[in-house]
Chain length 435, copies 2
């Protein structure tokens, strides 16, 4: 596998050479193999391990194991520890969501603080197959079937073309040691049931099942991109924003055949699902309306009007040069500090001289862009950033943004902007902490 | 279920009321339930049963069973018998393909002869799920995952929203009898393995698995339609036909980002699969080329040239008014007859006065359309017809078409054109028979 992997890195991940990256390592089979493979290829990286404190002694054992691995491989090692259960009850999210948010937020902080631009994770083809089947069981659209991407701006997943079997084979042939997560064997969890019961049967159907699946996901991804590109064009033409409301001319909408495909494409992101009802608006009387959890579609003479039910969306809050701590819509302390200390969770340090008061706290708006830190000054649409972060519509609407004039300083808790970062010319450091 | 089914027919298949249709009946659970449900709703239909002679006495028993069912339900019954094994060895196709071709060709003939416009089949949601998993195991694109459609111009599948379990429940509650296909229990067949081993586990993941799956397929279908609509537009812009060759301006192609999604969209139907190689042409030297099984892509200065490797594609054959039997590219007898006799396989009867000699036999061309018989004079693109028939590129290229001037008379063996059919004014009937 080493040779194959080497070639794969050379052809598809050349950016991992000549740079230092962060390698997310749980201590499990996949990330341990990745760390060893990279060490063999003389790639430069630091390990990063999160202790979620969910399995008592086992969790602490994992942490120690990764620290020893780092010593063995002569790599730097970042470790952190979370009170995951508290995070879950505080934020009312699932374990999966909590773990993902905690992990990726912390990785981003470590990278920011250490000038690291890429995160590498050990996801492989079986992970994608399992996620595909989980999403299938819950019902999903094409995006739920295309899988985790091999590359985003900041994350690379070089094992995504390899199977768990190949990874295990390599570990055994190299006599590697890794930590087994005891919960991986319990088939009461959906993913484990899929892994241990369903996937083996699927692979029996066809000896090249997994390779075929990888190809299928590639094809789906291409179709998804084409559909999305087309929708951008259709939306540009059909959706006219007027203040808080989006207007759609019914006569234009009626030209779209088959109608339901277009209704789905245009309105799915607003939470609508009952397309026959939406189609009914086009021929119904003025005043007729259909609701999703977050939006209303109202027929008003020759137009459909799309409106957000959450009035908070259009609210704005100001921070003046007196820098009084924010109380509404959430608590955030603002203070001048001498140095950057170890960051945890949701803290931002900026060069105060780059800011122009009053600062604004608001939700995202169509057309928003920023210069994500660590991307060498590359500009990125906020909508694209949200998409890469796989944020749901609800998550997007909950997301607050800190602006200086109308420039984005911080996608709060998620990503800072390059233009406001601390440099060796910074005279005054301002610290924002979400409490 | 009867009530639910009644409502479903009323809302989604109103065309089945006030018309006589053909109900494909194997004698198995699904089609027997469909026949009974329709009888309860007082719908007008005739049964049609194919005996494929693959299971000896069992096959003959099925045939007798359907004939008795027809008597019980007081319906007309059409029955035919095929030498399926001979068809397989003669045409070098799989059992599935043979059975499908034989079945649908015969249904079309029965319908044509009896003035029946719709065929109804008993496919249900589990059939679609099984096909989804079969295609997934083999590797597929989005089209392989969207399932068999609930409706085409001539086929309706009113049970597609119902599960096998619901159908079985209805059969038991009504104490219906049906024939069990003994091979359905053998898990050596891929479909049976999926049905008996994999699907039950998937349904255990989520009590609403099948309902979610139906929704997922709907969403995929919508995305697929959007991607296809977009591709039509992109192809229109980028692919320029010049004689046998399609020219693509490289500078225009390079504007398509991400390139691979567009290469896939534009060239997948020509059998290309190695997108990195195709992308390589854009930056490679003039004269560089990539081959699929059927096509060549050649870089020629500022253009990519797409060429069919099968020179037969552009060949044409004529039939003059002396109506000599065709020998090349295949055997077809042409003769004037007094009456239409029972048709079998690939025979067409036309009103000779509607023809203009010389007739032409050729392959299909971009822009081809015709007026499929039984569609009330509705026009249909041949490309759309091929798509609905789920024909592969190879099948499309093998397909011959009979034309009068440049109007399509017959998609040979598949579908006749409305404009040339026999009417009560016909003076001279011409019979074409592919041998």
């Amino acid at each position: 596998m080493l040779k194959e992997f080497h070639l794969h890195i050379k052809n598809h991940f050349p950016e991992l050479k000549n740079t230092v990256f962060l390698l997310a390592c749980s201590g499990g089979l996949d990330s341990v193999v990745l760390a060893h493979l990279f060490a063999k290829l003389n790639l430069q990286y630091a390990l990063a391990h999160c202790n979620f404190n969910l399995r008592g002694k086992e969790s602490n054992g994992d942490e120690k194991f990764v620290e020893s691995l780092a010593i063995e491989l002569k790599k730097e090692c970042f470790v952190t520890s979370f009170n995951t259960k508290e995070y879950i009850s505080k934020n009312k999210v699932s374990l999966q969501v909590a773990a993902r948010e905690l992990r990726y937020n912390w990785f981003a902080k470590v990278m920011e603080k250490n000038g690291i631009e890429k995160l590498v994770t050990a996801h492989h083809a079986d992970d994608n197959l399992e996620t595909f089947l989980i999403n299938l069981s819950r019902g999903t659209g094409i995006d739920g079937l295309t899988g985790i991407p091999a590359k985003t701006d900041t994350i690379s997943r070089p094992l995504l073309r390899f199977s768990r079997e190949q990874i295990l084979e390599y570990a055994n042939s190299e006599k590697l040691k890794w930590r087994e997560d005891s919960t991986n064997k319990e088939i009461k969890y959906v993913r484990n049931k899929i892994r241990h019961q369903i996937v083996p049967l699927l692979k029996e159907l066809n000896p090249t099942f997994l390779a075929n699946f990888i190809k299928t996901q590639d094809y789906l991804k291409q179709s998804s991109i084409l559909a999305e590109d087309y929708l951008e064009q259709v939306k540009e033409k059909l959706l006219k924003k007027e203040g808080d409301i989006v207007k759609i001319e019914i006569a234009e909408l009626k030209k779209c055949v088959p109608l339901n495909a277009y209704l789905y494409g245009l309105f799915k992101e607003y939470g609508f699902t009952e397309w026959d009802d939406v189609a009914g608006l086009l021929v119904g009387e003025s005043g007729k309306e259909v609701f999703s959890k977050t939006h209303r579609l109202l027929k008003n003479r020759e137009y459909l009007l799309l409106q957000n039910l959450n009035t908070e969306v259009n609210q704005r809050y100001q921070i003046d040069s007196d820098r009084i701590d924010l109380k509404v819509p959430f608590h955030m302390s603002i203070s001048e500090v001498k140095t950057m200390t170890k960051t945890s969770g949701t803290t931002l340090y900026v060069d105060e001289e780059t800011l122009k008061y009053p600062l604004t706290i608001r939700k995202w708006e169509k057309g928003d862009y920023f210069y994500p830190i660590g991307m060498k000054g590359q500009k990125k649409k906020v909508s694209k950033f949200f998409k890469d972060e796989k944020m749901s519509l609800i998550e997007k609407e909950k997301q607050w943004i800190l602006c200086s004039e109308n420039n984005i300083v911080w996608i709060i808790g998620k990503r800072a902007d390059e233009r406001y970062k601390i440099s060796n010319k910074t005279k005054s450091i301002l610290k924002f902490s979400v409490l």
